[in-house]
């Protein structure tokens, strides 16, 4: 499933939009260097980390989208950087486990 359709079906907040591409896998994590070395291409990256470096790392790993879990809203710097870099930045209410299950169920990954 593509990010736009997924965000809509999941009822997520959309803080920033990017290229509408397919979510091919998922990755959960908050330590940026772990994410850099382990997150697969075109994944949905689920995190509770909320700062500007999240957008920088998302472009490095070329993920399909970032999902900020637990109702975290991005700070101004992160939202601005995500927009500038055309990275999908989504907001979800549930915890990382619940939202990972949702990604799995909706996207079949």
């Amino acid at each position: 499933m593509n990010v736009r359709e997924f965000a809509q079906k999941a009822g997520y907040a959309v803080f920033s939009e990017g290229e509408d591409r397919e979510i091919e896998s998922g990755y959960c994590g908050d330590f940026l260097s772990n994410i850099i070395s382990r997150a697969p291409d075109s994944c949905a990256w689920l995190t509770v980390m909320n700062n500007v470096n999240v957008a920088a790392v998302a472009t490095l790993i070329d993920c399909a989208c970032i999902i900020l879990c637990e109702g975290v809203a991005p700070d101004d710097a992160l939202a601005a950087r995500a927009k500038m870099q055309s990275v999908w930045l989504l907001g979800a209410k549930g915890n990382v486990y619940e939202e990972a299950k949702r990604v799995a169920a909706l996207c079949g990954v």
């Binding site: 330590f31 940026l32 260097s33 850099i36 070395s37 980390m49 470096n53 490095l60 070329d62 950087r81």
Partner: protein
């Protein structure tokens, strides 16, 4: 030297929001030059980790990228506290990052191992109290 593109960046040590700009700029340049996506990604990751290390551990520094037709040489130079035990610093999971830095998502102790993983050659010169220079070579 004439067939080499040299890019130099000041990496601001107090500004987390600009951290990553040097590696992003190099990434853009390589893409424009038609370097393969896989190579661009290796360079961007290795350089980003080095840049971030200078910001969080060394109050900033200088990043220099020298781009040749078939490879890139990256030099990350700082006048920070230096690294006392380089072998230990290279171990996956070793980090001296403060609680404050960890709350920003850094401090997994994976940066230097990532730089090694994504480069073809890596060398660290460091003197405690003087500074650290990391050299990376990455072929395309």
């Amino acid at each position: 030297m004439s067939d080499c593109i040299r890019l130099e960046y000041d990496v601001d040590g107090d500004n987390f929001s600009s951290a990553g700009h040097a590696s992003e700029s190099v990434k853009r340049t390589l893409k424009q030059m038609g370097v393969s996506a896989a190579s661009v990604r290796r360079v961007a990751i290795a350089m980003y980790e080095g840049e971030i290390n200078m910001v969080i551990h060394a109050h900033g520094g200088k990043a220099i990228a020298e781009i040749y037709p078939e490879r890139i040489d990256i030099t990350l130079q700082d006048s920070g506290p230096g690294i006392a035990d380089i072998d230990l610093a290279m171990k996956a999971g070793y980090s001296t990052a403060s609680e404050n830095i960890r709350s920003l998502g850094f401090g997994a102790g994976m940066g230097l191992p990532n730089m090694k993983k994504y480069s073809d050659e890596m060398k660290i010169d460091s003197t405690v109290g003087v500074g650290t220079t990391v050299y990376l070579k990455i072929g395309f």
